[in-house]
Symmetry: C2
Subunit: 327 residues, 2 copies
């Protein structure tokens, strides 16, 4: 027979949410995990001098390279390439125009040779001239089956298991979690809620302009071939301010594109936390930093110690990288 105290203890433990029972199980018990849990404890402890009311517990996360992989190239570029193929019948002129011609020939390296300008032209051509609802549908259908060229896994399974646990852990402690990404806001929203538990209104990203108009008498938002906002580098604090309207207390990134977001977050008054995911695991994921054209991490890595930012070694600090394979 159980004693009443033991029975009560079992009953209490059984009703705790799983994130509280087993927080951050894919994290090695090393410095980054200890820093995260110490920070969360101090800002959520009522009598702590560092207590932060729930409404101010804002945590911002970069997406590419921080919540999911970004190699061999940003996953949104795969979407753009597939859109070029899908839309090609309506654009006979693409056969002779770069970067479209190279994509249609399957030469992605040549397609990317035009640099940022070619990439921007590509995104606008493949992301505009639809209604917002048509675009949502296009992304949703594509992401349901799109797979990584090397692992063969669904792109939505190329997320980082330790970061999924971290998102749940923070939300359990009444944090509001936001994505703040250089990627397209409308590219992320259709699946961010299902994959990360982050609703559309907490996704911030780059955007093109939209225009309200009646189509056959029906209210419609049309996506225009014009850039509205680039949510990268110094644009990240601007996007955070525009959407959230207060300074986050925690920020998570992986590249120099997150430097200003980390600086803005951690230079505020009161307790602040910054963390960089360092891709140093060539066996289980990828290894790249200072000289990579995608996700370059150089200035932010140098600045981490003096700013008190934690640096996660994916190789040493994470027990697993991606969620276990279901198939």
């Amino acid at each position: 027979m159980k004693t009443p105290v033991l029975a009560l203890t079992i009953a209490l433990v059984a009703t705790l949410p799983s994130s509280a029972q087993a927080p951050l199980t894919s994290w090695q018990d090393s410095a980054p995990k200890q820093a995260i849990t110490a920070f969360v404890t101090k800002v959520t402890t009522k009598d702590s001098p560092d207590f932060v009311p729930p409404a101010q517990r804002i945590a911002v996360f970069d997406n590419d390279g921080t919540l999911w992989s970004e190699q061999p190239m940003y996953f949104q570029a795969f979407f753009a390439f597939d859109r070029v193929k899908a839309l090609a019948p309506q654009h006979p002129e693409w056969k002779d125009k770069e970067p479209f011609a190279s994509i249609l020939k399957g030469d992605l390296k040549a397609a990317l040779a035009g640099g940022e300008h070619a990439l921007l032209e590509l995104v606008i051509a493949t992301h505009a001239n639809t209604t917002t609802e048509e675009f949502d549908q296009a992304v949703s259908s594509w992401i349901a089956t799109a797979r990584h060229p090397q692992s063969g896994r669904l792109l939505t399974d190329m997320v980082y298991q330790p970061m999924l646990e971290l998102l749940a852990f923070l939300r359990h402690h009444q944090f509001k979690t936001f994505i703040v990404s250089g990627g397209g806001i409308e590219f992320m929203r259709p699946w961010a809620e299902r994959v990360y538990g982050i609703p559309p209104e907490q996704v911030i990203g780059s955007s093109i302009r939209t225009r309200y108009e009646l189509r056959d008498g029906k209210p419609t938002l049309l996506r225009l071939p014009e850039i509205n906002f680039i949510d990268d580098k110094a644009g990240k604090p601007v996007g955070i301010h525009q959407h959230i309207g207060r300074r986050p207390i925690m920020a998570f990134g992986n590249s120099d594109g997150d430097f200003e977001m980390l600086s803005w977050t951690t230079s505020g008054q009161g307790p602040r936390f910054g963390l960089i995911v360092h891709h140093d695991d060539p066996t289980r994921e990828f290894a790249y930093d200072r000289s990579s054209s995608i996700g370059r991490l150089d200035k932010a890595l140098d600045a981490a110690p003096s700013n008190g930012w934690s640096v996660v070694s994916m190789k040493n600090d994470w027990l697993s990288i991606h969620p276990p394979k279901a198939d």
Copy 2:
């Protein structure tokens, strides 16, 4: 002695939130209240064919004329006028330049004679060239004491009691409530949480551009004298899409500036709700509609019946207008 059942009942009732005990007490039991409660019941009842999951329960509210008064002019204009006086010593050129000269002479009618262009110039001159934190401070100090020229009450007491009850009622039923206003996003955020229970990240409004820069090595967001976004008329669905990323299921407005927001919201699939606050109470508030330069209600009023939008008569449908006076 109370019976155990009675004691339990009392204990249960005592722990219910006040909004559930007494919903919408300032609303007459007439058509608008009945429409609101019937809609909320059907979208929150699990087995209803119209059930809407909590994550999709998005309700959007115009601010000026819908949540608080807007006569004899938008309250943000009072702020701009007071800022002109406060900033005048740094701007000797304003003595000879309209609309500043008239404001400094106390002739507000002449100041407004320049129409929308003059008003825009006024807003930019008085709302830019500060950091975001300085501007937040300026609004917060001003709103703490700013009073209505006719009632003498604090502007934050010129809110509508029935709408405060409605906001609480909807949140009690797991709605997320957003402000979608033509007013300045940074003018509303410093007090919307205290007054309406709406956090900064759920406030959408017009904005000027900001730029991230280091000032004495400190990360700063500087407010630039350039319009970023006008959140009015056809801009409202654009602002909603940019910030929320999904179509609301309820929309509340009071003027033609809300026409497109109401149309966008109520033309979506599934259960939708639109409501217009009609200012027809010259005794307790103000009476204006088709011919008013502020809060003109003409096209939207005509469109209400065919769109199924409720129209609130402030005179007949509201038992009280503003919260009771504390002083």
